[in-house]
């Protein structure tokens, strides 16, 4: 244990100065997700809009970050431009270990810089520098320049936004170290609203480890579990794209704006197809030996006779679903080139793909024309989509500005709500059934990772709303604890309660080790209280008609079952988010 409280760097971009706060509550909120909500309650402004300069942008790590394998992710917490409510987004890369080695449990950024700026944070360094000359640059170009401006390869994390973030898009991601992202819910837009083009985190501090041999021994044992054949083959070999064929077989892979849930053309964009023909290499988040990041290549001829350029593009299941199957693009290289366009402008690839799928069907139905879309969108035709991605990222006209706020918002204006594939935000790639649709549409961060609804659908034939909602609530609490450590969720099969207790205990976090279940539930409640305090009304959630029309391996969706699930889950969320009658003593006694 480095300390029994949190050390939080708070930077005001308006003045370019920072302070280091001591924040108590380690045993109550642990770190990561719990700390993010805790700090939002301390520094956030629930009643003011997401782009109020005083709103905080929070990056938080956990007690196990860097100490054990796959404890390698950072939680970003903010008021989201997507729905103007509290949200979280999680990313890997180097930022988690970089924050650890800055000796910070969290970085809180408030204020708005007077000019476009970069923030550089280190263990013994803080500067806010003018970066107006970087404004407008795409993700790749700005990365190259930042690497020259802030030397320190290997132990430096670079978080940056593209044009989408600069113009406040609700679909703008924060790119982390080129191949990872705080993808969802518009964190990039929050950075843009603060005139913050990039954050450079340089971790240079060192910490003494426990004297006993127990820690090193436990590390070795966890490391062996993480690199066992099963984990490595699952996430390192084909990686998450292995799911494309599996879900397609189950009729759960959304195709062409979810008009279909299976297509034999999946063979062109399967995990095997990508690995066999496009995979260059794997890379990893710092502190993770699994190395699940798959880098493919795109080779483009830009002139006759033999003038080529090549790009390296990271791929995963979700991006392939979003700009492959969902847009009807079945050539793996075309899918990669479209992902590359999305990367450049700094959009969340899932939101961008699903929103453009809605726009394509709206064109088919005559709701939209090229006057709005500026490109003849047709399922399967990659070139107009590349143009549309550029327009969406840059907010090229009123239509794209509205679409960048979410497909359902565009549908409310133009029509076409029935086929907007939005579940709280643009859907993740799982047409697995009623439980998942209910879970993502109502979930805390509207992520497929909030809870395991997609796996529940696959494991349970019976329709028992009470059991299903109980599962969602319990599973969410367990995940909330893991994302407070902050673990990669790929490791959730290894980091079970007993092992987590052992890890925490070895480092001296004995109170946390003894209260994992209770603390997970407390963090779950705290997050929901925070979300509800910023205006969330679960009863207002809509599950568009398209989801009710899905037919998968189980057969057609049961709308009545989905409605019952929604009703129960809404009540569960309201119960979880009800303000505590008594102040939690664990959260009192904070010292600035």
């Amino acid at each position: 244990m480095i300390r029994d409280h949190f050390r939080v760097m708070r930077v005001d971009l308006a003045s370019g100065r920072g302070t280091v706060d001591r924040v108590d509550g380690r045993d109550a909120v642990a770190g990561g997700s719990g700390l993010g909500a805790h700090l939002f309650n301390r520094y956030g402004l629930p009643d003011r809009p997401w782009n109020d300069p005083d709103q905080p942008l929070i990056f938080a790590i956990g007690p196990l970050t860097g100490y054990f394998p796959l404890m390698s992710k950072t939680v970003c917490a903010f008021k989201s431009p997507y729905h103007d409510q509290y949200s979280e987004s999680h990313a890997g890369g180097r930022s988690a270990l970089a924050l650890r080695f800055c000796d910070l449990d969290a970085l809180v950024i408030t204020g708005k810089a007077p000019r476009p700026s970069c923030l550089a944070v280190g263990g013994r360094h803080l500067e806010v520098t003018d970066a107006h000359f970087l404004w407008g640059l795409d993700i790749q170009r700005v990365g190259k320049r930042l690497r020259r401006m802030f030397p320190g390869p290997g132990h430096r994390s670079i978080l940056r936004i593209g044009p989408a973030g600069e113009n406040g898009s609700a679909m703008a991601c924060i790119n982390v170290d080129t191949y990872r992202h705080f993808g969802r819910m518009g964190g990039g837009g929050v950075m843009g609203s603060k005139n913050l083009k990039a954050i450079i985190i340089q971790g240079t501090e060192t910490f003494d480890l426990p004297e006993s041999k127990a820690y090193a021994k436990l590390f070795q044992s966890v490391y062996e579990k993480m690199t066992a054949t099963d984990m490595m083959s699952k996430y390192h070999n084909l990686g998450t794209p292995v799911n494309l064929e599996a879900l397609n077989e189950l009729k759960c892979l959304p195709w062409r704006n979810l008009k279909q849930s299976t297509d034999p053309a999946v063979s062109g964009i399967s995990g095997e197809a990508f690995a066999d023909d496009t995979l260059l290499r794997n890379t990893a988040c710092s502190g993770c030996p699994v190395g699940c990041i798959h880098i493919g290549f795109v080779r483009e001829q830009f002139d006759d006779p033999h003038h080529f350029l090549y790009r390296q593009v990271n791929y995963d299941y979700e991006p392939i679903f979003a700009v492959g199957a969902m847009l009807g693009i079945t050539d793996k290289f075309q899918v990669l080139s479209l992902m590359d366009e999305v990367e450049k402008v700094g959009l969340d690839v899932m939101s961008a793909g699903v929103a453009l799928a809605w726009a394509t069907e709206a064109m088919e139905k005559g709701i939209l024309s090229e006057k709005e879309t500026l490109a003849p969108l047709v399922f399967g035709d990659v070139k107009p989509y590349a143009e549309a991605v550029h327009h969406l990222g840059h907010g090229a006209n009123d239509f794209y500005k509205l679409l960048a706020r979410g497909a359902l918002k565009a549908a409310d204006h133009y029509g076409g709500e029935d086929f907007a594939c939005v579940l709280g935000q643009e859907m993740a790639g799982y047409a697995t059934g009623e439980v998942f649709f209910t879970a993502q549409s109502h979930g805390l961060r509207h992520s497929h990772l909030d809870s395991g609804g997609y796996s529940y659908d696959q494991a349970h034939e019976e329709k028992d709303p009470e059991a299903a909602v109980d599962f969602l609530v319990k599973d969410e609490a367990e995940r909330a604890f893991l994302t407070s450590m902050v673990s990669c969720l790929f490791a959730r099969g290894v980091y079970k309660k007993d092992l987590l207790a052992e890890c925490l205990g070895t480092l001296g976090y004995t109170a946390l080790a003894d209260s994992i279940g209770e603390t997970g539930r407390r963090i779950q409640r705290l997050r929901w209280q925070t979300r509800l305090a910023t205006g969330y009304d679960p009863a207002a959630v809509r599950i568009p008609k398209r989801f009710h029309e899905v037919v998968n391996w189980k057969g057609p969706m049961d709308s009545e079952y989905m409605q019952t699930l929604s009703k129960r889950y809404r009540q569960a969320i309201i119960d979880l988010g009800r303000p505590s009658s008594e102040a939690d003593p664990q959260l009192n006694g904070e010292t600035p």
């Binding site: 860097g66 100490y67 394998p69 270990l97 650890r100 080695f101 263990g123 013994r124 990365g143 190259k144 690497r147 390869p153 290997g154 132990h155 170290d177 080129t178 191949y179 971790g203 240079t204 501090e205 060192t206 910490f207 003494d208 480890l209 004297e211 820690y215 090193a216 590390f219 490391y223 690199t227 490595m232 290499r281 794997n282 890379t283 990893a284 988040c285 710092s286 502190g287 993770c288 030996p289 699994v290 190395g291 990041i293 880098i295 390296q312």
Partner: protein, 151 residues
């Protein structure tokens, strides 16, 4: 005598498991810098990784530069580190031609001691302990000097 080599760095995924293993096991620290092996990207994540590591010089310029005998020539190349003798002058790091000696904020030097304890933590077999190519031709003069300063 064997030395640590990095023959398969093309396979490196940049996980830092080796650096963390060295810091944890050899130095009892949590760090990705206070270690004998440090991983850097060669100009961004798209260009692959390099290992900053002692190449086992014999004679070792860092040992020659050390004024207190804290860095002592190791048979087979590289150095043996006598931490208690170190006065934190940083001359070893300045003398290293390949930037393999890391100085922390207190100017404490960290360098590979060729113990090989990082090797099992590389998930892709980038690292290997191999017989030193420099073992056969030690400089007798340097060797005797090293003996003189060894307690």
């Amino acid at each position: 005598m064997k030395i640590l080599t990095t023959p398969r760095m093309e396979r490196c995924i940049g996980c830092n498991s080796c650096s963390l293993a060295c810091a944890r096991q050899v130095h009892k620290k949590l760090s990705w810098l206070a270690a004998g092996i440090r991983i850097i990207s060669s100009g961004g994540m798209s260009t692959g990784f390099e290992a900053k590591i002692c190449l086992a010089c014999n004679p070792a310029p860092c040992a020659e530069a050390c004024p207190t005998g804290a860095f002592v020539q190791r048979k087979g190349g590289g150095v043996i580190v006598k931490k208690k003798r170190c006065i934190r002058c940083g001359e070893c790091a300045a003398a290293c031609p390949v930037d393999a000696v890391y100085l922390d904020h207190d100017t404490e030097p960290f360098v590979c001691i060729h113990c090989g304890r990082c090797v099992p933590f590389c998930p892709h077999d980038c690292l290997e302990m191999r017989p030193s190519p420099r073992e056969a031709q030690p400089d007798p003069e340097k060797t005797s000097r090293a003996k003189e300063v060894t307690p």
